[in-house]
Symmetry: C2
């Protein structure tokens, strides 16, 4: 059975403002010193498992030019342009319907476009195991990340017994408070929900039909028109009519045959500016510094410089990001609030800065 991959690349990356903008969100940025963008890395690490012509990118129609520019090897017909954002369930249904025109059945690996993986060998091995599990019956497999601390910013997967080389899933739980996260960590029965899914096309379509029949029928219409002159019109009409729904809530929390495979391959969701010091080398003062910077008595600080000199004196635990038209100076405790700056800019009608 062919193995295909669907990379979901429609995110807005608001927490990486001011580098991430509506016109070029996080997945199209390089946040590491090697200069590769997040989505380029995502494709590259898939190549030991999936052929280039079987990698599909679902993104917002505003970003298809960026995808073509950054990933010229991906066949143009594999770049699926959503006319609007409807969360992960319609995204996956759209991709599944299109892949259904190419293969009667296939393995579908569904991945975010903006995460980092430190150990790509272990990553590929884990995905291969997941493919083996997914090939059996109607199994829906998700990769769970072995928690290294009591993170409150992720959803968790409570797993049960070992079965068929994976673990059954008892339940998915939302982002916990700290005492709950600590309990999860101590129990040894919880994994972080990474948003990576592996299943057969036939399995996911059966579950979409069962739990989201409206989305199923719209997706079928989109798939039927794929490659025809009607495609754009059908896509626009059907996709726009979809409700927003996550695949977690729409399928995973309801379906049977849910399995999880623990992954320990150095996963980072690069969820905020705090990630930059985790995914890059830091200096003797625990600073990550990129660009023209003079740091005097500065510690635990992340500086992503721009075209001008940035001089810091006596600061710590600060994130500084410079761009041509906007600069962020943010406490490390407040990285989740970067979104509030975007909200303020929108209120002010300053869309050129968003």
């Amino acid at each position: 059975m062919n193995t295909t991959a669907v990379i979901m690349a429609g995110g807005k990356g608001e927490r990486f403002w001011p580098k991430s903008r509506t016109s070029c969100p996080k997945q199209f940025l390089s946040l590491t010193s090697d200069g590769e963008t997040m989505i380029q890395k995502t494709v590259k690490r898939l190549l030991p498992i999936v052929a280039m012509e079987d990698i599909f990118i679902v993104t917002n129609s505003a970003y298809t030019a960026l995808v073509k520019e950054q990933l010229p090897e991906i066949p143009t017909e594999n770049i699926l342009a959503e006319p609007c954002a409807r969360n992960t369930a319609p995204c996956i249904a759209f991709a599944a319907a299109v892949i259904g025109r190419k293969y009667d059945d296939a393995i579908m690996i569904v991945l975010p476009s903006d995460h980092l993986i430190a150990n790509e060998i272990l990553y590929a091995d884990t995905l291969k195991k997941a493919v083996t599990v997914a090939e059996k019956g109607e199994n829906l497999v998700t990769i769970g990340i072995t928690p290294s601390y009591a993170e409150t910013g992720y959803g968790y997967i409570n797993f049960g017994e070992e079965k068929d080389g994976a673990y059954t899933v008892e339940r998915f739980v939302e982002k916990p408070d700290l005492p709950t996260a600590e309990k999860y960590l101590a129990s040894g029965k919880y994994l972080w929900n990474s948003g990576m899914f592996i299943w057969k096309l036939s399995s996911v379509m059966a579950n979409i039909r069962k739990f989201m029949p409206d989305i199923y029928s719209g997706a079928l219409k989109i798939g039927e028109s794929f490659g025809t002159a009607e495609f754009n019109g059908v896509l626009e009409r059907e996709f726009t009519a979809f409700r927003s729904e996550s695949v977690d809530f729409g399928i995973m929390e309801k379906a049977d045959n849910i399995y999880t495979l623990p992954g320990s391959f150095g996963w980072d969701d690069v969820g905020s500016w705090l990630a930059v010091e985790r995914i890059n080398d830091t200096d003797d003062n625990s600073n990550y510094i990129d660009g023209d910077v003079i740091a005097e008595n500065t510690r635990h600080t992340t500086i992503c410089g721009g075209k001008r000199l940035i001089a810091t004196v006596g600061i710590e635990n600060i994130i500084i990001v410079d761009t041509d038209d906007a600069m962020l100076i943010c406490s490390k405790n407040s990285t989740q609030d970067v979104k509030k700056i975007i909200a303020r800019l929108k209120e002010q009608g300053r869309n050129n800065l968003v």
Copy 2:
């Protein structure tokens, strides 16, 4: 007797980098919302006491164009250009020698160019009283600032008994440590040394002759050549040969007839970026914000914006100063260390940023 004023405007203002540069130091900047530069304010507040044509500006030769531009009303011949920096004693001797060509004797008010005064009426009244004291005998009068807290960054004046409408000076003391400053404050017998002096030309010349005969003879030569074709050559030769000497050490700590008048007119030496929040209005979060700024959960922070948006999130007690080619982000505890950035830039040979 005519009253003249000498404004010392040769400072480098390094603690106000990156706004203050070698090419345009602090005294030529506006640090208040009214847009007036420090030296413009200094001249303006003197006008109730001194006629424009009796105000002399001593500055580095690199800044004469800036002085002419900012103070077009000052007669060109009153702008005295030092060929190099030699601290306050040679500066005052130079000015005294030149004024000696205009007046046989006169009152000389000597002032820094880069301080702020909140109450200009009380300031003028204090200077007038000082002039009265200076007119008697060979009195050398200095304005002492009534301390409002135990500052360790200023020198202090220990005053004695009241005499002739002023106080005798027991001694000048260098910047104290905190316990000493607290003792000074509690004693009620100490004032801050503001660097403002009032004396007769004849008095100061007599004391320069007595305590710094080398500088006296050089200054006389400069004065004699003033207005002749030889002036620039004499000035270059004599002034460059002067040793660096402060008037405090060179005269005030040695002379007799030293008097001080306590001033309580809202003096601020604008000694570091910390001053900006003192001399301007702050908002409800105790921030001083100038420019295009979005401040989210930001307190006790000073932001001097430039041409781009500055967004702050969750920070406090930080000073942010933006310019076209360099940006400073400095803890309020570290404003004295801004000079270290300049030292680093010089090491790197980046004189365009100094």
